[in-house]
């Protein structure tokens, strides 16, 4: 994986922030969401539209990250909200957030998708470049970024299902540790441990380890 520290350290983080924050507030306004959910359950049509606007991008990123197929991700994302409409009456405020419930719907639809497909699609390098272009405003070294994204998609196959789920919810959907814990039915400490194990595994699969990092190599001055 050929990514410079400048690329990794500077632009992606800022642009990811822009991508995540655009049109939404990450982790914030939980009470606002709860209020909108109440209104939707009471039958207010506009509340459904508000929930759609609030969650669409995050659901899409989550589904896209898990399926690697843009067309399918768009269809599945829409289907998530149609299912939300049908079953929102069954959602109960029992201490866990609405987002966890919604991402559970998305997860189930993805499971159905893979059952039908019976394979995980690996994003080809050309498509990964398109993913990169669509996901950032401007970045240097697009080809390297696209290759890195494709390598991540491929390396995710080396994780357990639970590790993949945690990574998808934390990194793609932008859920907090608490929300992720509720969504996967685990304790917060377990989520952190799963996340750490997944990152460690990806590190070895992507061949990024401290001893192999070029910056750590002492230059030969002799």
């Amino acid at each position: 994986m050929d990514m410079t520290a400048a690329n990794l350290g500077l632009k992606p983080a800022l642009l990811i922030k822009e991508s995540l924050m655009q049109g939404e507030s990450k982790h914030a306004h939980k009470n606002d969401v709860d209020h909108i959910v109440y209104k939707a359950q009471a039958g207010e049509e506009y509340a459904f539209v508000q929930l759609y606007e609030y969650f669409y991008d995050r659901i899409f990123r989550y589904v896209m990250f898990k399926t690697g197929d843009r067309n399918e991700a768009e269809d599945i994302t829409t289907e998530v909200f149609l299912r939300m409409l049908e079953s929102i009456g069954s959602f109960k405020f029992q201490g866990y957030p609405f987002s966890s419930w919604l991402f559970r719907i998305a997860h189930n639809l993805i499971v159905d998708y893979f059952r039908k497909k019976s394979r995980r699609k690996i994003v080809p390098l050309e498509e990964a470049s398109t993913v990169a272009e669509n996901s950032v405003v401007e970045i240097d070294n697009r080809i390297d970024a696209g290759r890195a994204a494709a390598e991540v998609y491929s390396a995710m196959d080396g994780l357990t299902d639970l590790q993949k789920e945690v990574m998808s919810l934390r990194f793609a959907a932008g859920l907090s540790v608490k929300e992720t814990a509720e969504a996967v039915g685990k304790k917060e400490n377990a989520v952190k441990a799963l996340q750490h194990a997944a990152i460690k595994k990806l590190r070895s699969l992507l061949d990024v380890s401290p001893k192999k990092d070029a910056r750590m190599v002492t230059p030969n001055t002799g």
Partner: protein, 292 residues
């Protein structure tokens, strides 16, 4: 907490900070004792975040919203019939009566199991006759003229949705013909309220021939205003997604809908009929001015 757990905690904190826009280097700088390990971990985090940051296609998002709106319309029409109102408003004392209706409802449900599938159908599709039959049955159920007027207003909105679907399917001439049903339902609604609708209010002034309570008039007016705004917004959204020929049909439909809804609302308000586009301005003695 052992070393591994401590590292996991630090990585998680850095994940949160990076998601908020901080750089890898800023996070590493706060934990110099873990620099080597942290750098490799956070490179993976940054790359994964990057790979996971795809933005949705705006057109796909709009299309999804359109599908959600359609589903909302269908959901609303399912709950607007006589039985839906009875269930929602029934006090507990009437529950034995409701239970007694269950047998009839099972039969109703079998028939309407097909209706559920037909809810999204449009003219020309095999299940559309089921949808029409259900609507006609519903119209035959005894109810007040005011309730029927509301029902026809709602059916006008359903016809509008069907018309849009025909446009999206490329069946343009059918869409234009089907759009006439919107005006028919609005006209029927007006009749039930007791208003004679006229496209030539100068020579045929609007008359209200039935005494309908102002509260009912007000409710219907609010419903029509909401339905027109909703239909207009949906059509406007679709206008930007359609190719050239379909754009013209959408614009035509928007003008026709505006004509029907605004005339009706103006007549309910007993205000002057609008004279701007898309309405005719008729000069009684000399000539007629074509629409803009």
């Amino acid at each position: 907490m052992n070393q591994e757990e401590r590292l996991a905690e630090i990585v998680d904190q850095c994940v949160e900070r990076m998601a908020s826009g901080e750089t890898v280097m800023a996070c590493i700088a706060d934990y110099p004792e873990h620099q080597k390990e942290l750098e490799s971990f956070l490179k993976v985090v940054a790359t994964t975040m990057y790979a996971a940051s795809a933005r949705p296609n705006p057109e796909a998002k709009i299309h999804g919203l359109w599908r959600l709106n359609e589903a909302l319309s269908v959901r609303k029409s399912r709950g607007s019939g006589l039985f839906g109102r009875v269930l929602r408003g029934a006090p507990s004392i009437t529950r034995p009566l409701v239970a007694g209706l269950t047998v009839a409802l099972v039969l109703y449900g079998i028939v309407l199991g097909a209706d559920r599938a037909a809810a999204d159908s449009v003219p020309g599709e095999p299940l559309y006759w089921i949808k029409m039959s259900t609507e006609n049955l519903s119209l035959m159920v005894p109810k007040s003229d005011s309730s029927k007027a509301h029902q026809h207003a709602h059916l006008a909105k359903l016809r509008s949705t069907e018309t849009l679907r025909l446009v999206r399917m490329g069946r343009l001439s059918e869409a234009e013909k089907h759009a006439v049903m919107i005006r028919i339902h609005l006209g029927r609604s007006a009749q039930l309220i007791g208003i004679t609708m006229s496209m030539n209010p100068i020579e045929m002034p609007v008359r209200r021939i039935k005494r309908t309570p102002d509260s009912e008039i007000s409710r219907l007016k609010d419903l029509l205003a909401r339905d027109w705004e909703y239909a207009n917004n949906v059509l406007n959204t679709q206008l930007h997604l359609m190719p050239g020929e379909q754009k013209e049909v959408i614009r035509y439909l928007m003008r026709r809908q505006e004509l029907g809804y605004r005339m009706f609302i103006a007549m309910l308000d007993r205000t002057s009929v609008p004279t701007g586009p898309p309405f005719w301005v008729i000069q009684p003695h000399h000539h007629s001015t074509p629409p803009n």
